[in-house]
């Protein structure tokens, strides 16, 4: 009897030692159940945050499904941003989504990658009002196009700019100028 009593707290202790890993395992199981295991690749947990890569064909359905899911209530879009990896051929551009369940305090990071020649990603403005400006920002900085967005225009830069400045090929200084170099601006 005594041994049993001792073993139960020990188990609880072991579970309590890494509650984040446990939550992530639950979340991953839910994701696989809802959308199928083949929907996600590169599943990892950098610094305790579950991260998975999916495809742009599925991203809208997945985020819509997570928003409506009653079990985990992953219904808060914390942030989304674009990124550019020029050396990854065929997957140069990416979008990163951070979702959060305020009820269960679980975060999830989803990523999609797509070719720079075809930078088209479904909009999330029909799910989240907050996606509106974030998508405009991603369009402004990276030139990612969101069909269905109500007002896809530049947001932080001037309207008549003809390039997308956060792409890696543009230098830190004004990319259209040739009289200045990057030499003295950081490394």
């Amino acid at each position: 009897m005594a041994e049993q009593n001792e073993s139960i707290p020990a188990q609880e202790q072991a579970a309590a030692q890494d509650p984040a890993a446990q939550k992530n395992a639950q979340l991953l199981a839910l994701l696989h159940r809802l959308f199928g295991a083949d929907a996600f690749t590169d599943v990892e947990e950098p610094y305790g945050l579950l991260t998975a890569t999916t495809t742009r064909e599925r991203i809208h359905d997945i985020i819509a499904g997570l928003q409506q899911d009653q079990e985990l209530q992953l219904n808060f879009l914390t942030t989304m941003c674009g990124m550019h990896w020029p050396e990854k051929e065929g997957q140069e551009l990416g979008m990163v989504y951070h979702l959060h369940s305020l009820v269960h305090n679980v975060r999830l990071r989803l990523k999609i990658f797509f070719p720079i020649a075809d930078p088209v990603v479904p909009t999330l403005t029909d799910l989240y009002s907050t996606a509106n400006w974030m998508e405009r920002e991603a369009f402004d900085f990276f030139g990612i196009i969101f069909p269905g967005h109500p007002n896809l225009i530049r947001i932080l830069n001037v309207e008549d700019m003809d390039y997308h400045p956060m792409r890696r090929e543009y230098a830190l200084e004004d990319g259209t100028r040739e009289d200045k170099t990057d030499l003295f601006f950081g490394r």
Partner: protein, 422 residues
């Protein structure tokens, strides 16, 4: 539907708003009486009531707003791009200049992100010192917001009372770090220096004198008839819409959702302190004002607890590869000189990885998404700026209200242009 920044979308919203909300004067002429003669009004970009540089092109029907298009980006400084070319220490000054009303929070948030990436453990004393400084920053942020809300409703006195207190907090910052506004006071691994006796003395004196001023300010506003007429039921947003818009911080709590990063994902020893999360019910301007007032009291509670239990010990981690050595050691000690040189020249190599770390900023969840490819600079750094997230709801919040309501709504949302544009 998130179509509020197109004119068609806002027309739809106004129709709904009109049906729900009775006009102040039912005899006043309506749109139809004037054959829909509307006025276009540019509120901003430079107007004292916009609290920064951004423009709202409002369509007005008499005194009522029927639609609006916000334009931002006037002080966009490309911080995310600049950060890609800078070593971690050189990014600190950039974070200072985002929400300049509470720059220590931005600082600490950034350093905590880097510490998470590098795996640096910060000693308890430094964590408590950070908590004290972050809560001071939160108080000054709220003081500015609520003080100026008073000015926007025509009450200048409260602003003067609170600005005086903010100056005193800035003097504490000055004792701690040498700077007042853009403090740059944290370091990777802890604090730049310990609290001096003078700083602690100033802090203790301020903690004794400030509550009386705050009480007086609250007496002046909280149940003031004129003030309440201007702010109650003005610029409200429901909890559901606020969540859909990604609101965090006092603006979300005013709508009734008790989400606070300090409680949900504690950082820097916040779990050690006893404090409450004030929430509102309606999410209107009055609720936002009251939530901020109450948060000031809660922050004072936290500072008092942290000061009382301030642990002895080192104020920075023993991490010579990342923590800048003291200047005196640099003059005398070869190793310190080498580390100083390597850190200043940006020779720190970070591990490959990606980190998302968020702190409770003055006006919401301030997040840092940092992607490192193993180089000396971040490969990609994205700031989740709370102002940027919730300013897009502004149009929806003011449509159907009067121009004077739009002014107080904007100031109660605490939109800081530096953070909005980054």
């Amino acid at each position: 539907m998130a179509v509020n920044d197109t004119l068609e979308g806002t027309h739809k919203i106004i129709e709904e708003a009109r049906e729900q909300q009775p006009r102040i004067n039912p005899l006043a002429p309506t749109v139809n009486d004037f054959n829909q003669e509307l006025t276009t009004l540019n509120l901003g970009p430079t107007h004292p009531a916009t609290h920064g540089i951004f423009q709202n092109i409002l369509q007005m029907d008499g005194e009522r707003i029927i639609s609006g298009v916000p334009t931002i980006g006037y002080i966009h400084r490309a911080f995310e791009k600049i950060a890609e070319r800078r070593p971690f220490y050189q990014i600190t000054p950039l974070t200072d200049r985002m929400n300049y009303c509470s720059s220590p929070i931005n600082n600490m948030g950034w350093h905590m992100t880097v510490e998470k990436l590098l795996g640096v453990e910060v000693p308890k004393r430094a964590q408590y010192m950070r908590v004290i400084l972050m809560e001071l920053a939160r108080i000054t942020d709220h003081l500015i917001c609520n003080g100026i809300l008073g000015v926007d409703t025509g009450a200048f006195t409260g602003f003067l009372y609170l600005m005086d207190e903010r100056e005193k907090v800035y003097e504490i910052y000055e004792e701690v770090s040498g700077a007042r506004l853009t403090t740059n006071m944290g370091r990777v691994g802890g604090m730049e220096r310990d609290f001096t006796p003078v700083a602690l003395q100033k802090l203790r004196t301020w903690l004794k004198t400030f509550p009386a001023v705050m009480q007086e300010f609250e007496k002046m506003f909280n149940r003031n008839r004129i003030f309440m007429d201007r702010v109650v039921d003005v610029g409200g947003i429901s909890a559901e819409r606020a969540l859909n818009y990604g609101f965090t911080g006092p603006n979300l709590r005013a709508a009734g959702v008790d989400y606070d990063v300090r409680v949900m994902n504690p950082y820097s020893s916040y779990q050690d302190f006893d404090f409450e999360i004030p929430v509102g019910t309606k999410g209107d301007t009055y609720d936002r004002f009251m939530v901020r007032n109450e948060e000031i009291w809660q922050s004072l509670r936290i500072i008092n607890q942290a000061l009382e239990n301030l642990p002895e010990g080192p104020y920075h981690a023993d991490a010579p590869h990342y923590y800048l050595p003291p200047k005196q050691a640099v003059y005398k000690n070869m190793e310190a000189l080498i580390y100083h040189f390597k850190i200043v020249m940006g020779e720190i190599e970070a591990p490959v990885g990606e980190v998302y770390h968020s702190v409770e900023g003055g006006n919401g969840e301030l997040g840092f998404y940092l992607v490192s490819d193993g180089g000396r600079t971040p490969y990609r750094l994205h700031f989740r700026r709370p102002c940027f997230i919730y300013y897009q709801a502004y149009t929806e919040m003011v449509v159907g209200q009067t121009l004077s309501d739009a002014i107080v709504t904007l100031s109660s949302m605490n939109v800081i242009a530096g953070e909005l544009d980054a």
